[in-house]
Structures are given as structure tokens and as C-alpha cells.
Amino acid sequence: MNLLGYVIKRIFQTIPLLFIVSVISFFLIRLAPVDPLAELKLNPSITQETLNYEVQRLGLDKPVIVQYGKWLKSFVKGDMGYCTTGEKVSDKLMERIPNTLLLTGFVILFTWLVGIPLGIVAALNWRKPIDRILTILSSIGMAIPSFFFALLLLIFAVKTGWFPTGGLTGYNFSEMTRFNKILDILHHLILPVIVLFTISLSGLQRQMRGNLLDVLQADYVKFARAKGLSENKVIYKHALRNAINPMVTLLGFEFASLLSGAALTEYVFQYPGLGRLILEAVMKSDINLVMASLMIGTIMLILGNLLSDILLKLVDPRVEVS
């Protein structure tokens, strides 16, 4: 019951947030002196009916406030209009979102699998050479521009021929068996995952290290030691569990920074994700697509934060809604 109340409270908190974001993104893009249908009109394969439909849907002959209302209404209904290529925006998004989730999912999985143990190792060897080395390595990881690292890996891929140089699927994907399809996708995922993994690992490792160091100074850890528990038991049974709890909130942050950070990596690797979609939409000034993907990206980010908050509540019931 307590949990349910918490979840409902948190969901209600996100509603004003979503509203403000929709206002910002709508008026931001309407600020641009671009006819939202200019590109659509230029495409000869778009019929006059589609154009008329779009004028109706967006209420382009009406004042801006009405336009906003109409846009919001059709957005909530899931109708986001057409891309300049003539495809439905919603179809395009549905095609791209799973790809981005796949990429970020793998990256988060690996950063946690590697970052948490490394953070523990660093904390247990505080100010010893291993800790210093890990600190330097994490500084290096944070300093590499993602697109530059992606370029370097591309060179590697081209020179060795071990990895595909972009995309998510090979040229003969449709002819493969199911098992080979999975292998093919994994093969294409390796390089983008390496780039994003390297960049997000450092933050997680440092955070884990800091948390564990804080916890190790707590009274209950001192007490556990004083009563003669073995060091292993003190660390892994008492300290670690409390040090990992705050990391759960980091999940939301990590997801957020990955959504942003992945755009450049997706661009370099020609990976068909949400980040590259919005980039291409921006470059082609495909207004419908830009607005929709901006909103969807934001909603995904808010949902990510929501999920990590709920997860935190599950592992640590003391948390309250602020």
C-alpha cells in the first residue's frame, strides 16, 4: 500500500513536468521561421490530401495557442503527423525506440557489471596504487569525446575487418536464420556499446567508490568490526548493501545521459536509434519529426527517472516523495 501510494504520488508529479516540457518544445520550434510543411510540400510523392490533413491537424490557419492545443491533443492520441519522407512519424519512432533501448540496455548492464566491482576495489584500496590507477583511468574515460572515440574504433574496424562499420544489421539480414540474426545484431552492437560503456563507466565507478567509502566510516560498520566479524563479512554483508542503494537513483541519471550521449555515437556508427533520428530530422528541418522525437526522448527520460525512483523505494522503503 505504501509503495502504491508512493508510485501514484510520483506519477502525479510528472504530469506538470510533461506539460511544461510540451510547452517549451512546441514554442521553441515554432520560434524558428520555418514553414512546418515546407519540406512536405517539396516532396512530390506527398498528396494534396495529406497536406490538407496536416494543415487541419496542426490548425495552421488558427492562432498559435489553438495550434498548441491541437498539436497536444493529437500527440496524446498518438497521431504525430508525417515525416518529410511521407512515412508516419509514429511508425518511424516505434522503429527506432527499441533500437535505442537495446543499445542503452546493454551499456547500462555492462557498466553495472564492471563499474560496481571496480568501485569496490578502489574503495577497499583507498589511496593505494590500485585506487590511483583506477582514478586516472576513469579520468581518461571521462575525457574522451564520444564521437572521436567512435571514429578511432571505426578506423580499427576498417583496418582489421573484424567488425561491421555501421548500422544495426548486415546486408543479408532478411535471409538469416533467427539465431544468426541475433548474432548479427550483437556483432553490430559491439563497437557502439564499447564507446558508451567507456564513457559512462567512469562516473559509476567513482560514485560506487565514494558511497562505499562513506559507508565504511559509519558507526554500524565500526561496530561490526568491533564485535569481531571477519573483514569480508563486514564489507560484503553490512557495508556493501547500504552503499549500493543510492546507486539505484543513478540508474535514472545514467539513462538520461545515455539518451543524450548516444546521439553522437549513433551518428558516427550510423546506428538507427532515436538520437540519430532527431539529428537527421533537425538537419532536414523535419518539424513533425523533431517535435515528436524531442517529446518522446523527454518522456523516456522522465519514465527512466520514475522507474529508478520506484526501484529505490523497493530496495529502500525509507524513501519519501519530496
Partner: protein, 365 residues
């Protein structure tokens, strides 16, 4: 929320000494000093101007400098020019050294005229080559422009744009957080919801959309200014929330109450009495956020949405590396990426040390 630092406890004069005492921070500091000094004196150190372009020498490889001549004796440094020829078998343009004529490398010699710092007319360059010779230390780009010179001029933009953006985003964030925290209640609620909304838009998406709104027909100075403004618009929201948190506790102190009792206006109380108390945190946060601005600018320019040609920035120089043939056979085009890496790494290392200096108990490094 970060802890409130006591400004008096912060080793102000000793901060530099503290940095120099740390082995890594010392090297990082020296590297940054050299980087900034070089780009500051770019027009003197670089042999060519930003506009120089030799159309016959597109993608010319780096000039080799010899100090041992063909007889095996030590000689003053010299170089050869490259000749371009067309490889009919591979359908490729190639360069070969013209070994018939040597060109001596000269120091403090006369070359293209320029204005140091924009107002001192000079024509001597740190290094140069004899008349008729060409010296491209790091090769040339697609337009036959000297990569090394452009690297220095690009650094002027890439290394300063972060600081300029800070000058906008931090006062903005301070004032916003200050007003929100000071007035509290409904104002606070609404202002913080707006800040949260901005924070929940993926920042890079916002960045590219803002950059794409910019009209195309702008002078490079206008564009530069607007890119600075856009970068500044990204970071302030999260920062303002922290300032607000600090203001909430500061506004209950006696000096704030006395300022109100003396009849000072709200804005005056905020700006003159409350915000200065947050300064120590602000300074640290500013130092720590420089590298993220450098990375944002380079990413934006890399996509072609930031600094535009003919101006150079490290990001837009890397744009050429997007083509496969360039990254495979013209590796010198990747040099800007290494410089971004070195600069950001140095800033991060120094940032870590500063955090340590201010809060020796901090474990977050």
C-alpha cells in the same frame, strides 16, 4: 545536494600551491598553461594565417623535417616540398617529396603579415621556411590549409567558448536559484518545476535543436556569440537548483533579516547579501563544468551545427574525419580530437584536485 563550503576555510591563496603539489595536477596545469599560451599567441607561432589556402596541395601529408643531410652529416633543419601526382593504377592522388631542392627552416623570420592580439601589426613568425618552400607540420586539409595553424586558431575558439558560456549560465543560474529560494512558496514551486522540465529534456537534443534554429546568414562573430548563448542555456537549470537549496538555508541568517529590516529591496538582498554566500560553491562548480562545455561545443561543431567554416574550431576540423578515406589514409586530420582529449583530461584532473583541496574528507574522486 553538495555540502556548503565555508569560504574562509577554503585555501584560497594556497589553491595554486595545492594543485602544484599534486603530481598529476601539476602536469595537467603545465599542459593547460602551454595550450592556452600557444593558442593565445597563435598568429605568431603558426607559420600561416587562418585564411591561407594552397588549392594545389589539398590533403598534403605532414612535411618531414631533416636534421641529417644526405651525406650523413648534421645540418640545420630543412625540408622538401611535396609534388602532387595522379596514380593511374589506383586512381588516387598521391604526394611525393621533391628531393631536388632543399628549403631551410627559419626562426623568427618574416612571413605573412598579421596583427598580434588583433592590434599589434607584425610579420615575423616563430618558425617559417625559405621563400618558395612549404612547411606543413601536420599536413593540410581539403582546402590546402595548414592543419597546424588552424589547430592553433581553432583552439582559440574551442578553449575559450566554455569560459564565455560560464559567464552567462552561472549568473543566470545564481539569480534564478536565488529568487526561487528567497521568495519560496508558489514562486519557488513554479520556478523549480520549470527548471526541472528543462533538466528533463535530453540536453543534447535541446542543444542541436537550438543550434538548428539559428539563421544561416550570420557573420561568424554573431554565430560565435549565439553558440555561446546556446551552450549557456543548457547548463544553468541543474545548477540553479543547487543554489536554491543553499539560499533556503542562508535566508534565515541574521544578516539577511537585518538587510530586510533596513529596507533593502528584495533584489538587493538577494544579489548583495545572499548570493555572495554561495560564491565558493559557484567557483568550484564553474571550474568543474568547463570540460563539459568544451565537449559540447566540439560535438556541436562536429555535426556542422556549431562554429562554421571558414572559422576553425577543433570540433569542425574533425568533421572531415567523418569520411572513411580520410581517417584511413590521412590520420593527421584526427589531431584536433587528441587536443580535445588532452585539454578535457587536464581540466578533469585539476578539478579533482580542487575538490580535494576544498573538502579533504571528500571521497568522490
Amino acid at each position: 545536494m553538495p555540502k556548503l563550503f565555508d569560504f574562509n576555510q577554503m585555501p584560497k591563496e594556497n589553491l595554486l600551491r595545492y594543485i602544484l603539489k599534486d603530481k598529476f595536477a601539476k602536469y595537467a596545469f603545465i599542459i593547460l598553461l602551454i595550450l592556452y599560451l600557444t593558442v593565445f599567441l597563435a598568429s605568431f607561432i603558426s607559420p600561416y594565417s587562418k585564411e591561407y589556402s594552397n588549392r594545389d596541395k589539398a590533403y598534403c601529408p605532414p612535411s618531414k623535417i631533416y636534421i641529417i643531410n644526405e651525406k650523413g652529416r648534421l645540418s640545420l633543419p630543412y625540408t622538401y616540398n611535396y609534388i602532387r601526382y595522379y596514380d593511374k593504377e589506383n586512381f588516387d592522388t598521391k604526394y611525393i617529396e621533391d628531393r631536388t631542392k632543399k628549403y631551410k627552416v627559419k626562426y623568427f623570420a618574416k612571413g605573412e603579415k598579421y596583427k598580434l592580439f588583433g592590434f599589434i601589426p607584425l610579420n615575423r613568425h616563430f618558425y617559417n621556411v625559405e621563400k618558395g618552400g612549404e612547411l606543413y607540420l601536420l599536413g593540410t586539409d581539403i582546402n590546402g590549409r595548414d592543419n597546424f595553424s588552424r589547430l592553433l586558431f581553432g583552439g582559440q575558439i574551442s578553449l575559450t567558448i566554455g569560459f564565455l558560456a560560464l559567464l552567462i549560465s552561472f549568473p543566470l543560474g545564481m539569480l534564478y536559484g536565488g529568487i526561487s529560494g528567497y521568495f519560496g512558496g508558489k514562486t519557488d514551486f513554479i520556478m523549480m518545476r520549470i527548471a526541472e522540465a528543462i533538466m528533463s529534456i535530453p540536453s543534447f537534443y535541446l542543444l542541436i535543436i537550438l543550434a538548428s534554429i539559428l539563421p544561416a546568414n550570420m557573420t561568424s562573430a554573431q554565430r560565435f556569440t549565439l553558440i555561446v548563448v546556446i551552450l549557456a542555456l543548457i547548463g544553468w537549470a541543474g545548477f540553479s537548483r543547487v543554489v536554491r537549496g543553499m539560499v533556503l538555508s542562508i535566508k534565515k541568517k541574521e544578516f539577511v533579516i537585518s538587510s530586510e529590516a533596513l529596507g533593502a529591496s528584495n533584489l538587493r538582498t538577494i544579489v548583495y547579501h545572499i548570493l555572495p554566500q554561495t560564491l565558493s560553491y559557484v567557483i568550484v562548480a564553474m571550474t568543474l563544468s568547463v570540460p563539459s562545455y568544451i565537449l559540447s561545443e566540439s560535438g556541436l561543431s562536429f555535426l556542422g551545427l556549431g562554429i562554421q567554416q571558414p572559422d576553425a574550431s577543433w570540433g569542425n576540423m574533425l568533421k572531415e574525419a567523418q569520411e572513411f578515406i580520410n581517417i584511413i589514409s590521412r590520420p593527421w586530420l584526427l589531431t584536433p580530437g587528441f587536443l580535445i582529449f588532452v585539454a578535457v583530461l587536464s581540466f578533469n584532473v585539476i578539478g579533482d584536485t580542487i575538490r580535494d583541496a576544498i573538502d579533504p574528507n571528500s571521497k568522490e574522486r
